[in-house]
C-alpha cells in the first residue's frame, strides 16, 4: 500500500519536524494529576485524553482535519478512546480510579495512564468484578480487550495473596505496552498526616473522658458525649 506508506512517512516527517523545530519541546511532557475520587463523571477518560491531544496539537499549530492523515488519526484515536473508556470502567469496578494521564509528543509519542486505589474490595466486590469480567469477555472477545481484562485480573490477583495491596497501577499504552503494579504492605505504618489525626482523636477522647470523670453530675450535651470520635474502622465487621 504505497499510499499508506506515504502517509506514514509524512506523519513521521511531520512529527520529526515538530520535534526538531522545538528544542525546548522535544519532550513536552504533560501530566494531568487529579485527586482520587474527585473526578467528575464526565468528560470520560477517552474524552479527556482526546482533549489533551487536541490541546497539544493546537499548541503546535496543527488542526485536526487539516488533511486525510489527521482525520484517519482522529478516527483511530476515537476508537482507542472508546477502548480506554471501557478499560477505565473495568478498573473502576476493581476499585481503581484514573489519577494521572501522562503524554508526551516527540519522535516517539508516549501515553501512559496511572490509576490509584480508590477503595478496598470486599468479597462481594471481588465476586462482582469476576462476573463483570466474564460478561465483558462475552461482549468483547477481541485481543485488545482480553489484554485489558488480563491487567484487571493481574491487579486483583496481586492483592489476593496475603499482606499486600496494589496501591498504584501504571499503564503505558504507547510506544510499548507496559504495566507496573506498586504493591504496599497492608499493615504499612501510617503516614505523618494520618498519625497526627489519629493522635488528635485519641487526645480529644481522653479530654472528654477526663471531663466526664470530673463532673459526672453535669451532663454534657448528647452530641458531645456520645459517640466518641473514632477512626473509620468498625471492629467485628468483616469485609
Amino acid at each position: 500500500m504505497p499510499h499508506r506508506q506515504t502517509r506514514a512517512i509524512a506523519a513521521l516527517a511531520l512529527l520529526g519536524a515538530v520535534a526538531f523545530s522545538m528544542p525546548a519541546a522535544t519532550q513536552p511532557s504533560t501530566v494531568v494529576t487529579v485527586p482520587l475520587q474527585d473526578l467528575p463523571p464526565s468528560p470520560s477518560l477517552g474524552e479527556r485524553a482526546g482533549q489533551l491531544w487536541s490541546g497539544l496539537l493546537d499548541q503546535l499549530g496543527i488542526t485536526p482535519g487539516a488533511n486525510g492523515m489527521m482525520r484517519s488519526a482522529t478516527d483511530t484515536a476515537r476508537r482507542h478512546a472508546r477502548a480506554r473508556d471501557d478499560f477505565a470502567w473495568l478498573m473502576d469496578v476493581a476499585g481503581y480510579k484514573l489519577k494521572e494521564i501522562e503524554s508526551s509528543v516527540s519522535l516517539i509519542p508516549s501515553l501512559s495512564l496511572t490509576f490509584g486505589q480508590a477503595r478496598e474490595l470486599t468479597e462481594a466486590d471481588r465476586d462482582h468484578v469476576e462476573r463483570q469480567l466474564e460478561r465483558h469477555a462475552r461482549r468483547n472477545p477481541g485481543t485488545f480487550e482480553a489484554m485489558q481484562r488480563a491487567i484487571v485480573r493481574a491487579v486483583l490477583e496481586a492483592s489476593e495473596i496475603g499482606g499486600f495491596s496494589v496501591e498504584k497501577v501504571e499503564i503505558d499504552l504507547f510506544p510499548w505496552p507496559k504495566v507496573k503494579l506498586q504493591l504496599v504492605p497492608t499493615d504499612a505504618p501510617v503516614g505523618v498526616e494520618a498519625a497526627r489525626i489519629l493522635r488528635a482523636i485519641d487526645r480529644l477522647n481522653r479530654q472528654l473522658e477526663e471531663r466526664r470523670a470530673q463532673a459526672p453530675e453535669q451532663p454534657f450535651p448528647p452530641a458531645v458525649l456520645t459517640p466518641f470520635l473514632q477512626p473509620a474502622t468498625l471492629p467485628g465487621t468483616r469485609s
Binding site: E120, A124, R126, H128, E130, A158, I161, T237
Partner: protein, 375 residues
C-alpha cells in the same frame, strides 16, 4: 494413577519401607509429613493410619449453610466417620488457608463462592499444593417473594438497600433511615408500608442476602463509594434497620411467617424455598430479571453465584491407608450425588440450586476420578 481409598486396617501393618516409597511420591510436605508420621507412629499403632481423624473444610460466610448441611449429612450417612470440621472465614482467607501447604494442619477442602484465581493457584503450587480437584456443586441464589394475590412490584437491589439499611445517605453523610413507604424510595412503587422478612443474622442465607442484594444495591451509591475501607463500607451497606420493618426470621419459618404477615410483606428466601412453596409465593423481578432456573444457571440473575468445592488430592490416603485423612473421596462423592446436589436434594435446604443435568454428571465424574483442575 490415583490410589484407591480403603478403610484402615485394624493395626499398623505398613512397613516403614513402603511408607517411604509412598512419601517419595509426594511433591512437597514430604519431609514434614514423614516427620509428623514418624512422631505419631505410636498413636497410629493403636489403629489409625492417618494423621487426622476428621476432614476439615475452610468455608466462607456465604457457603456456610451448604457446608454445615453437607458435613451433617456426610457424618450421618458414613459409618464411623467423624463430622467434618467447618471453619468459616472470608473467601480470601479460605483460599489462603487451603493453599498454605500439605499436611494435617491445613484444610482438606475449600468451599467458596468464587473460582480460585490463577494467581492463588500458583500460590498453592508454590506451597506444594499441586493436586487440586475443583468441583462445581451448584448455584446459590437469593430471591424476593410475595404472597400470591399481593402486589408484587419489580424492585432493584438499590431499592432493597434503601428500604432496609439502618442508615441512608444524606449528601455525603449518613442519617437514620426513616423511610416508611416504598413510594418514598421511588414514586413508581406502590404507596405501601415497607415490611420485609429477612433471614436471621449469622446464617448462610443472610450472608447471601448481604453479598448479593445489599452490597449490590449500595455499590453505586456515591457516598458509599467514597469510603475506602472495605469493612466500614460493608457495614454501611449491610447493617439493617431495627424498627421492625426488616424482621429476621429463622430459615425454616420464613414461608409460614410470610403467609401470616400483613398484606404487602415481602420475604427474602432461597430459590429452593420458593420452589417448595408450591405456588403459594410469587417471585419478584429483581434488577429486571425474574428468578428462574435458566436465569440462575446463566447467572443473568444477579443474585446468584456458583458454589465451588476444592479438595487436595495429596491428602488422600494410599492403598495401605496411610495419609493425612480418611474420607476425602467419600465426601466429594457425597457432595456431587443426586441426593445432595440434585433436584430435591438436601443441599437445596441450604439454598443450593442444582446444576443442569449434564453438568451434574460431569461433576460426578470429576469426583469419581479425582481429576485435577486443568487451568
Amino acid at each position: 494413577m490415583v490410589p484407591p481409598e480403603l478403610p484402615p486396617t485394624s493395626l499398623w501393618v505398613a512397613p516403614v519401607q513402603t511408607m517411604e516409597i509412598i512419601l517419595r511420591k509426594t511433591a512437597l510436605g514430604l519431609a514434614g509429613l514423614l516427620g509428623v508420621m514418624l512422631a505419631t507412629l505410636p498413636a497410629m499403632a493403636t489403629g489409625s493410619l492417618t494423621l487426622r481423624d476428621r476432614l476439615t473444610v475452610a468455608g466462607t460466610f456465604s457457603t456456610e449453610g451448604v457446608g454445615r448441611m453437607l458435613a451433617q449429612r456426610f457424618a450421618e450417612g458414613t459409618q464411623g466417620a467423624h463430622p467434618p470440621q467447618l471453619e468459616v472465614m472470608r473467601g480470601s482467607e479460605a483460599f489462603e488457608r487451603f493453599c498454605a501447604g500439605i499436611g494435617p494442619d491445613t484444610p482438606d477442602f475449600a468451599l467458596v463462592s468464587r473460582r480460585m484465581p490463577r494467581g492463588v493457584m500458583e500460590h498453592c503450587r508454590a506451597n506444594g499444593v499441586t493436586e487440586v480437584v475443583e468441583l462445581r456443586l451448584g448455584y446459590s441464589a437469593v430471591v424476593l417473594a410475595a404472597r400470591r394475590g399481593d402486589i408484587a412490584p419489580a424492585l432493584t437491589s438499590r431499592q432493597i438497600y434503601e428500604a432496609l439499611a439502618a442508615e441512608r445517605t444524606s449528601g455525603e453523610g449518613f442519617e437514620p433511615n426513616r423511610t416508611r413507604l416504598w413510594s418514598e424510595i421511588d414514586p413508581s412503587l406502590p404507596p405501601r408500608e415497607i415490611r420485609m422478612l429477612v433471614p436471621e443474622a449469622g446464617t448462610g442465607m443472610r450472608a447471601l442476602m448481604e453479598d448479593l442484594m445489599l452490597e449490590a444495591g449500595c455499590r453505586e451509591v456515591r457516598a458509599i463509594r467514597l469510603l475506602f475501607e472495605a469493612s466500614y463500607r460493608r457495614s454501611k451497606c449491610v447493617t439493617l434497620r431495627e424498627d421492625q420493618r426488616a424482621v429476621p426470621v429463622a430459615h425454616g419459618e420464613i414461608m409460614g411467617a410470610l403467609l401470616a404477615a400483613p398484606p404487602g410483606t415481602i420475604a427474602v428466601l432461597s430459590y429452593d424455598q420458593l420452589l417448595r412453596a408450591g405456588g403459594n409465593l410469587l417471585p419478584l423481578r429483581l434488577d429486571g430479571v425474574l428468578p428462574d432456573a435458566a436465569g440462575i444457571a446463566t447467572l443473568d440473575y444477579n443474585q446468584a453465584q456458583v458454589v465451588f468445592l476444592y479438595a487436595k488430592r495429596q491428602h488422600l490416603p494410599t492403598r495401605e491407608g496411610v495419609g493425612v485423612v480418611q474420607g476425602l473421596r467419600a465426601l466429594l462423592t457425597e457432595a456431587t450425588s443426586e441426593r445432595a446436589a440434585g433436584p430435591g436434594g438436601y443441599l437445596g435446604l441450604a439454598g443450593l440450586v442444582p446444576l443442569p443435568p449434564a453438568e451434574r454428571h460431569a461433576q460426578r465424574r470429576v469426583a469419581e476420578r479425582l481429576s485435577l483442575r486443568s487451568r
